[in-house]
């Protein structure tokens, strides 16, 4: 959790994950005076994505929150109903649970229950802080729970350009958007298409990215899972297997045409999802694939997920429970068998 170097426009094309957040927030707060930023330790920039925000936008729009997750999300909901566009930095995804009622009963439902009177342009950010020895209370990957709640949008960007573009779209979106940031990617520099320098680099919510075209199997990879998928695809290419790798980028709304279209072509599907296995995003994708692509399907849809256990502290234990390149390769072999 050390600070990133200050945002440097000349390095925009090699933008890091935290700088992407910083730039998205900075640009959108500049563009729209109703965007406010609330979170923990923003002034001290403990998590590294808030550099310069307080100086640039002042204490009315950049606020350090007391420890109160339900209060924080609920205050954002009310502020949104009354005209602001809050961004709430809950820092670590394991801290979302205390706010669950506010997510479900207020953020997700208010617009519907009040017949469209309410608009809730709220972005809630939280890092998926797993695989780093932080143990069971800091390493959750809870986005599947939120996928079960209509009314919320969910993004899980995996590249810095995507994070920049998706977060900017999220801030402009009139719906509550949860942004889950895979902390294992904090260190990686941007990849994919070069980022334009202008402030209109937007990635629309609900559009997946085909990271690598292929013909034999579709590997859908979420967050860090998209990298594992790419690495597995390269390993498999050496054996003559051509894998198409898709990063959904947005989980709600999911880009079904891209995913189902791909499986329709390849006839095989593996999903790589860092969430716990049962009722994971992978489960949803597998269920939808078998429901809508059964005719094209030539093998089982395999899920590569975190095991249904908690995150152990000991590094000797922790590394075993997550998806790995080897597990993805094995799953592809199962899907091809």
């Amino acid at each position: 959790m050390s600070a990133p170097p200050a945002r440097n426009p000349t390095r925009a094309r090699q933008l890091g994950f935290l700088q992407a957040i910083n730039r998205a927030q900075h640009e959108e707060m500049t563009r729209d005076g109703s965007v406010v930023l609330m979170g923990q330790d923003l002034r001290a920039n403990v998590f590294g994505a808030a550099a310069g925000a307080l100086d640039a936008f002042g204490p009315a729009r950049v606020r350090d929150l007391p420890l109160a997750e339900a209060g924080s999300v609920g205050v954002a909901a009310g502020a949104a109903m009354a005209g602001l566009r809050p961004i709430v930095d809950l820092t670590v995804a394991s801290f979302v649970f205390g706010a669950m009622d506010q997510f479900v009963s207020q953020l997700a439902k208010a617009r519907y229950m009040f017949g469209g009177q309410a608009t809730l342009p709220v972005v809630v950010r939280a890092a998926l802080y797993y695989q780093g020895g932080t143990a069971g209370h800091h390493a959750d990957r809870p986005y599947p729970m939120f996928m079960n709640v209509p009314g919320l949008k969910i993004i899980v960007p995996s590249t810095a350009p995507d994070l920049l573009g998706l977060l900017k779209s999220a801030i402009r979106d009139d719906n509550p958007v949860l942004c889950f940031e895979d902390a294992n990617l904090w260190g990686r520099k941007g990849r994919g298409p070069a980022i334009p320098d202008d402030v209109e680099h937007l990635v629309p919510l609900g559009s997946a990215a085909i990271r690598r075209p292929g013909t034999d199997v579709t590997i859908v990879g979420i967050g860090l899972g998209s990298y594992l998928a790419l690495e597995a695809a390269e390993e498999l290419a050496a054996e003559g297997v051509s894998a198409e790798v898709i990063d959904p980028r947005t989980l709600v709304p999911m880009d079904w045409p891209t995913i189902l279209g791909s499986v329709g072509r390849t006839g095989r599907c593996v999903v790589v999802d860092p969430a716990n296995r049962t009722c994971s995003a992978a489960s949803e994708i597998a269920a939808r694939v078998v429901e809508d692509c059964f005719g094209a399907l030539r093998g089982p849809v395999a899920r590569v997920t975190t095991d249904d256990t908690h995150v152990p502290f000991s590094p000797a234990l922790e590394k075993q429970i997550y998806p790995t390149q080897a597990k993805v390769v094995a799953a592809v072999r199962r899907a091809l068998a």
Partner: protein
Amino acid sequence: MTDGTAADPPPELAGAEGTALAREMMRRMQRVRLFEEATIALFGAGELPAMVHLSIGQEAAVVGACLATRTSDFMTGNHRSHGHPIAKGARLDALMAELLGKATGVCGGKGGSMHLADFSVGSLGESGIVGSAIPVATGAGLAAQVRGSGQVALCFFGDGAASEGVLHESMNIAGVWDLPVVYFCENNGYAVSLTAQESLSVPDVAMRAAGYGMPGVTVDGQDVLAVFRASRDAVERARSGAGPSLVEAKTYRFHEHAYGLVVPQPYRDQAVVDSWFDTVDPITLFHDRLVASGVLTADELGALRDEVAAEVEDAVAFARRSPYPPPEAAWTDVYAPSAVTA
């Protein structure tokens, strides 16, 4: 004044402005009362899809608080939902249509009795999840502060809701940031069957205000003027930038927790409850006070009641003749349209 027992009108109700205020207080209390009596009739006739929680007995609390705010001020509340928007000035017809699940309902028939909201009068919605709207009001206060709009947020909650953690989180945030919020507790002595004594570790909810660095007062919730005064002070404080307050109105729920809810074991003495209609009815108390102090005559008050009765009758008729929402409405308003599309 014709005899020695008549008092002078209290300062707030003196003069033409005072009379207008008195009228408005009575009008809104009558609106709550008669709207809800109509609701009982509709419930009895099987015209309501689900159970309803009534504010009868609590009219002075909700009206006294709301009349201390402006229409442009914000408000949230709870499952006992009818009184709040009525007192805030919402139209009765759209509220009644909502109770019947009609397309013309204030929420298009999608919210229902526990979840009224009328954004046009600052009513940001009532929560069926007890306590859950408390931070929402707090956030509306934050928006007012950030935008410098001069608006205030009024946050209704019950004695039961006072035990919920979000109240603590909200009052603390409001206290730290000096948000323009008035936390208003309708302490009607019960959370369904649990007495306030059993659910609260202090006799008065207002005693908790000091723990948040804000003023807290307990007032007679049957006295609309006392509630109005305490709320006005809190609203003024909030509007001036001095921060939040807590106002607690001790009041009475005259009816069962909800129409449609049978509580198998008795938890309060029905004879005592019945006596409340004679002893602590806020409308009767205010009526008698207005007449005694010469602000309005019994005839004027009777005429006002008739006006409201007609308004309620119209609302019921409107609700009845309104259509149900079209089937596809079940799937709309889950999301707002997106700004950025592919």
